[in-house]
Symmetry: C2
Subunit: 417 residues, 2 copies
């Protein structure tokens, strides 16, 4: 991608009403556009980051046998009434709308009910189970306040998976498989070290705990107690002597931290399947209930979380698997030889499948180009300058390092391999 | 994909309230689920078809310099008031909702206003233009009636592109480039022959025509007059002596047909840029208006159109580039040797990058498996049967043909190459 043809650019200032550091950075770097509080559009680089995260999540969901589908945003009221989740007194963050006929519709905030309803067509016998289905799509929640940028959106992108099992043992196996898949996802996103599987409240209809995945961060909205040795944590909301005893945890091993919830997995038991009357017939012809689980990851929240976590005073510092491009080429000097050399480098890297943002802008000062390279945060920066070309060298620097090195093209390729 | 692990299945009947042939077929084949009139969820195979079409559209939009972004579904009222498109008396198919504070929001039906508003941040000088941006996402339109399945949805997937040009000549060049890209898209989708660039009304604020792309079909909602020799058409809504004279067309060369509008491109002149106060400074420092165009393709409508067009009394008949998989393997006979041979074929094809739906269901009759192969509509069917294996042969048939042939594995590969 060439900067001269890209429509977006960097900005000195984020809008004054934007308080969250993740959104400030992403707006200044031209990744996102603020439509209103909690509602952000994705410009090309922001969309690439979002797609990179989606693809990691998709690969891990497919690897455990997940089947991808796409449910609808518009929701009929009746299936939500059957589980008592339509009334605003029960679920307080619906966006609702109306058909011309006056019929009320919901704007999708989650999809347990429609998924169970859709799958009821296909579930009859024990042979039809277990099932793992998921989707990655925009969700809508009418949050009273939305001041955390991409960390808490009114419109946001989420991966939600649902499991359907024949027995508690089968459910538990799927649940643990998903927990492991989640940890692989955070690992690949560069958040593995800071992210803890965290015991949390299971909700009012189950004795079981749910599991959150909490990334330790100063901007976290949650308080968690972390056992670093065992790599587990417990949410403050269930931090009591009784729970600690149940979990075999000790207060002295636990350290209080702030956490951002980057995923949660939930035992739903038979709540939704029974409310919607979906059961299966077992090997002996006996009608049986279906045990369900749900597994969420806030994909756009992760964009914000990573922006927040991997950044410094100069800007964004993307991990390799998430970055919208791997290399930022800054062409310094606009003589013909320098332009040709930079263009050739750009073409050569792209042909090798190494994605590049090429700052080919002719009328921009050196300081501004280097500042943009830092703000935009690609993992590798290459400066092509008239001076270094005289020695047949390129100036190379990792975004995470301060020292640069003069390299030949082959040495550069070795660094990027 | 193995049928034994796939959660979806085929059905004898579509729901009785479904009148559209495209939706009936797609529901019976397990591609989509009807949530309510005009609102359909995509099950795994339907999602694959949708993604295949998206990718073709995306490739052609990128090839002409389109930059992909993702605007938001939730829309603030104020930017739409500035173009007088908020009032329900002016735009009669909004879905609207409300924040907790009572502030009204729109649920995105199109995106001219927010796109112009977002880009205003980045457009100052002539150097920033021209710009082509696009997105592929769900749109929401509060249609009074929605009886045509995927051909007219209340919730549907659309590609919308917007162009911003400095001069009328620059706009015209972009506009024609996009018209050519559209024709390439229909060609790749297998609809090239039946699809006509069609003169249509330009709207109340321009003297110019817009262009529709109409696929000739009995289920079309539009009447068009087609000149087959010149490969152009004119929409009945502007079919008058005056227009014909202007276009140099003759009534005797034109044949009346029904058409499905599978795309439209529109000269917006300066309507939205001026209403939202977005201008640029030219080479001479003079403030100038920006000429805009918009370019829509109904991606989910195309799923319906292709299902409708490429189908027979037995089911769907997908074109190669659109099909959710290329091959349907029907294993007939459940002895160990047949199962091993079919499994090996499945693995071998998948390794070669040839996507397969493998009907490995042990307890399903031959007739049902072959009926499913026809209903699901993969371009190539391979029967692995105990009888033919004795001769080391596979039975191969194209979905579009009635005669099958006995082939060796190598001969099969040659057919699929």
């Amino acid at each position: 991608m060439r900067r001269t043809t890209a429509f977006w650019g960097t900005r000195k200032q984020a809008p004054s009403d934007e308080q969250a550091r993740n959104a400030q950075l992403l707006i200044r770097a031209g990744y996102i556009h603020k439509e209103m509080a909690g509602v952000y559009a994705y410009l090309p680089l922001g969309l690439k980051v979002l797609e990179n995260i989606k693809n990691i999540v998709r690969e891990e969901m497919n690897a455990v046998g997940g089947q991808e589908l796409m449910m609808t945003t518009l929701q009929p009221k009746d299936i939500w009434e059957r589980t008592d989740r339509w009334d605003d007194a029960k679920v307080d963050n619906w966006f609702k709308t109306k058909l011309k006929s006056g019929t009320e519709l919901g704007v999708g905030l989650t999809h347990e009910e429609p998924i169970v309803d859709a799958l009821s067509e296909y579930i009859n016998s024990y042979k039809d189970l277990p099932i793992l289905v998921y989707q990655i799509q925009s969700k809508f929640r009418n949050e009273l306040r939305a001041k955390s940028g991409l960390l808490r959106g009114r419109e946001f992108v989420m991966k939600d998976m649902y499991s359907f099992a024949r027995t508690q043992a089968e459910h538990d196996e799927l649940y643990e498989k998903l927990a492991a898949a989640y940890l692989r996802i955070y690992e690949r996103l560069g958040l593995g070290e800071q992210t803890y599987r965290t015991y949390a409240d299971g909700g009012y209809f189950t004795e079981r705990f749910s599991d959150e995945f909490q990334t330790v961060s100063d901007v976290g909205e949650d308080t968690i107690y972390v056992n670093e040795a065992k790599k587990i944590a417990i949410n403050a909301e269930i931090y009591s002597d009784e729970t600690l005893a149940k979990l075999g945890l000790n207060r002295d091993e636990l350290v209080e931290k702030r956490g951002v919830e980057v995923g949660n997995i939930f035992p739903l038991e038979t709540k939704y399947t029974e409310a919607l009357g979906v059961r299966y017939t077992d090997e002996h012809g006996v009608d049986q209930p279906i045990i369900m689980g749900c597994y969420g990851i806030g994909v756009s929240r992760l964009v914000g979380m990573i922006a927040e976590h991997f950044s410094d005073q100069h800007g964004l510092v993307w991990p390799e698997e998430v970055a919208p491009a791997r290399v930022y080429i800054a062409q310094l000097g606009d003589d013909e030889a320098t332009r040709q050399a930079a263009t050739k480098l750009y073409d050569d890297l792209e042909i090798k499948g190494i994605s590049v943002i090429y700052d080919d802008r002719p009328d921009v000062r050196t300081g501004e180009k280097l500042a943009d390279a830092d703000l935009l945060g690609m993992p590798h920066r290459v400066v092509v300058s008239t001076r270094n070309l005289a020695q047949n060298k390129l100036e190379y620097k990792r975004r995470t390092e301060t020292e640069s090195a003069l390299l030949t093209f082959d040495e550069l390729l070795a660094k990027l391999a």
